[in-house]
Amino acid sequence: MEKFITLTSTIVPLPIENVDTDQIIPARFLKATSKDGFGDNLFRDWRYDKNDQPIASFVLNNPTYTGQILVAGKNFGSGSSREHAAWAIAGYGFKVVVSSFFADIFKNNAMNNFVLPVVVTESFLAEIYESLSYDSKMTLTINLEALTITNNTYGKSESFDINPYKKECFVKGLDDIDYLLSKKTQIEAYEKAR
């Protein structure tokens, strides 16, 4: 997996609260048996109308906003445990999602697909939208080593949290299954002892 240490990018704003997994990827797109192609249907019903024509007012169809960072409203990713939501976000090309609050399962799923969920304070989030209102090409910098996120328009930073193990996974491009497989003898010992 690609390693992640710092990222500076323009952003795509989605200032909506409680964006649920059915919005991220509607259930009818869950019929695939591989992980590919979900990016095309990210936010499908907000992005395209009934005749599959792009809805101009939706942010992903607005050429002003591009980048590898999605900045979403509070309680992002609630709803189902479907990892397809994370595949859609990763598949579209986002490497980071910024919000003031994430649903639990989504957070795990995102990290398992090397999409970094960054939790910021409500005021930091509000400032991002504010900067964006006069500079649509504003950038954020995420530094995973220092655990900081910087609003480069305001020059303001805030620190965020990620557990040290997950941080190492991101930095080294490692995955949980490799780690668990290395623990087989311990698992067998646990089974015997119970």
Binding site: P15, I16, E17, N18, D20, D22, Q23, P26, A27, R28, L30, K31, A32, T33, S34, K35, D45, K50, G73, K74, N75, S78, G79, S80, S81, R82, E83, H84, A86, F101, A103, D104, I105, N108, N109, N112, N113, E122, N163, P164, Y165, K166, D175, D176, I177, Y179, L180, L181, K183, K184, Q186, I187, Y190, E191, R194
Partner: protein
């Protein structure tokens, strides 16, 4: 002093990663066709076998049609996903209840009714409503596909430990108020994100008084307030329910298990990270008016006005009501509806069908309403017929369909058309959940029955 959650969790810790998550041992995993193919694929790519095949059970439920299951699935993409599960189960040597099998149905209905889900267990499935199984006194939660692969490969997952929360419901539910109403009430109080990061224990006399099936409904909905899961300490109701079911321990094994299960409770005086108490008598039959399960109210209440909503949330609130075609400050009781759905892992059990049937007995279905009655499993279907409920339903103008998830998420053909109103006993009223543009009003089986008879949102007590 420990909570029940702590006891079960701690008994399943294999190791803790320095500064990281817990490696948790999983007693049972369920796999369905939607969230497992990529996990099996991953196993193949790594050249791995399933570590503990006997602890994994597969069945398709999300995609399967609810009529004519005897014929091959018409939708080629659904068929592919269902066939892929069959092949994966075969290749990896896992138990599989294929479509039409007498034990097929929605996983969260089938697991408990066969005694596959037991007190004290850790259980997972690539499905957020895995929280359902917590009703038996277990730690059960939904996981993503990467984690499904972890369990297939090692029977373990990485999890950070959730905080604990106790929700106490005191007193007695009023007549005509179901456990679904109780759960919708709690979610409305907590909001959809309000229990995020917590594992909930439900307690209090009102919970103790619930049947096993009613507890399953309550725990099922834990995820709708963001909780990792929910559980109820096992008691005589639990043991009575489990006794004699196909996969429950038998003879001496049963006695041994029972002795252990009886120890599964929160120690007196344990302090939870968060605790809230509600009065059962305050709960009315509930309906939702918006597009998340937290937007619920008593059936005769009015939709909250814009002023009563947090400023930051107003745009979402307005959009949500616009989608539903409702106005702030209005009542929705008496409003016309187009569809009724009885079923899902929330309300697709025999007691739900008994309640529905009891209400519609001797009445006639409203002509302008399409009603889907979908048993949660073939075992439920069999019981409906054994009790003759099907005849009463037919007489009232209804028809039974075949088991599956159906209109709960509309991955099969049971889709509510755009703009139409559906009173649904399922668990999610998200935009488009029951079909693109569909408008969902979540409710219990009694409100659903009343709507099916009158064609309107109706208080079932009148």
């Amino acid at each position: 002093m420990k909570t029940l959650f702590d006891k079960i969790w701690e008994a399943h810790v294999v190791s803790t990663v320095e500064g990281g998550p817990t490696q948790l041992y999983i007693d049972r995993m369920y796999c369905h066709e939607v969230t497992s193919p990529q996990a099996f694929d991953g196993m193949r790519k790594r050249g791995l076998k399933v570590f503990r095949p006997a602890q994994n059970t597969c069945m398709p439920d999300h995609n399967i049609p609810t009529i004519d299951q005897e014929s091959p699935i018409a939708d080629p993409i659904s068929k592919n996903q269902v066939d892929t599960l069959t092949k994966n189960a075969q290749d990896f040597g896992l138990t599989h209840y294929q479509m039409g099998h007498e034990k097929n149905g929605i996983i969260h209905v089938v697991g408990p009714e066969n005694g596959l889900s037991l007190p004290g267990m850790t259980m997972v499935c690539g499905d957020s409503h895995t929280s359902t199984h917590g009703a038996l006194g277990a730690v059960a939660f939904g996981i993503g596909t990467s984690e499904v692969e972890m369990v297939l490969a090692t029977q373990c997952v990485f999890q950070s430990r959730p905080k604990t929360m106790r929700i106490i419901i005191n007193g007695k539910l009023k007549k005509g108020v179901t456990s679904k109403d109780l759960a919708l009430y709690v979610i409305a109080k907590t909001t959809t994100g309000g229990a995020t990061g917590y594992f909930v224990e439900y307690a209090g006399d009102a919970i103790r008084a619930l049947s096993m099936e009613e507890r399953l409904t309550v725990c099922n909905l834990s995820i709708e307030m963001g909780a990792r899961g929910g559980l109820v300490a096992p008691d005589e109701v639990t043991f009575e329910y489990l006794k004699g079911r196909e996969f429950t321990p038998k003879g001496e094994e049963w006695d041994k298990a029972l002795a252990h299960w009886k120890t599964l409770k929160t120690d007196e005086g344990t302090v939870f990270d968060k605790e809230v108490t509600y009065q059962a008598a305050d709960i009315e039959p509930m309906v939702t008016y918006g597009t998340n399960p937290g937007m619920g109210m008593g059936i005769n209440d009015t939709i909250p006005t814009l002023e009563s909503i947090d400023e930051a949330g107003r745009i979402s609130y307005i959009n949500s009501l616009k989608y539903m075609g409702y106005e702030p400050g209005e009542k929705i009781v008496g409003k016309a509806i187009d569809y009724v759905f009885l079923g899902s892992c929330t309300n697709g059990r025999i007691e739900d069908f008994r309640q529905f049937t009891d209400y519609v007995k001797g009445k006639k279905k409203a002509d302008n309403v399409i009603v889907w009655l979908v048993p949660g499993s073939w075992a439920v279907d069999k019981q409906i017929k054994a009790e003759g409920l099907d005849k009463i339903l037919i007489e009232a103008g209804f028809q039974l369909r075949q088991p599956g998830c159906s209109a709960c998420l509309a991955m099969n053909d049971d889709k509510v058309p755009a703009g139409k109103y559906s009173v649904s006993t399922s668990n999610r009223n998200f935009e488009g959940r029951q079909g693109p543009g569909a408008r969902t009003i979540l409710a219990g089986p009694l409100v659903a029955a009343a709507a099916a008879i009158t064609g309107k949102i109706t208080d079932p007590r009148i």
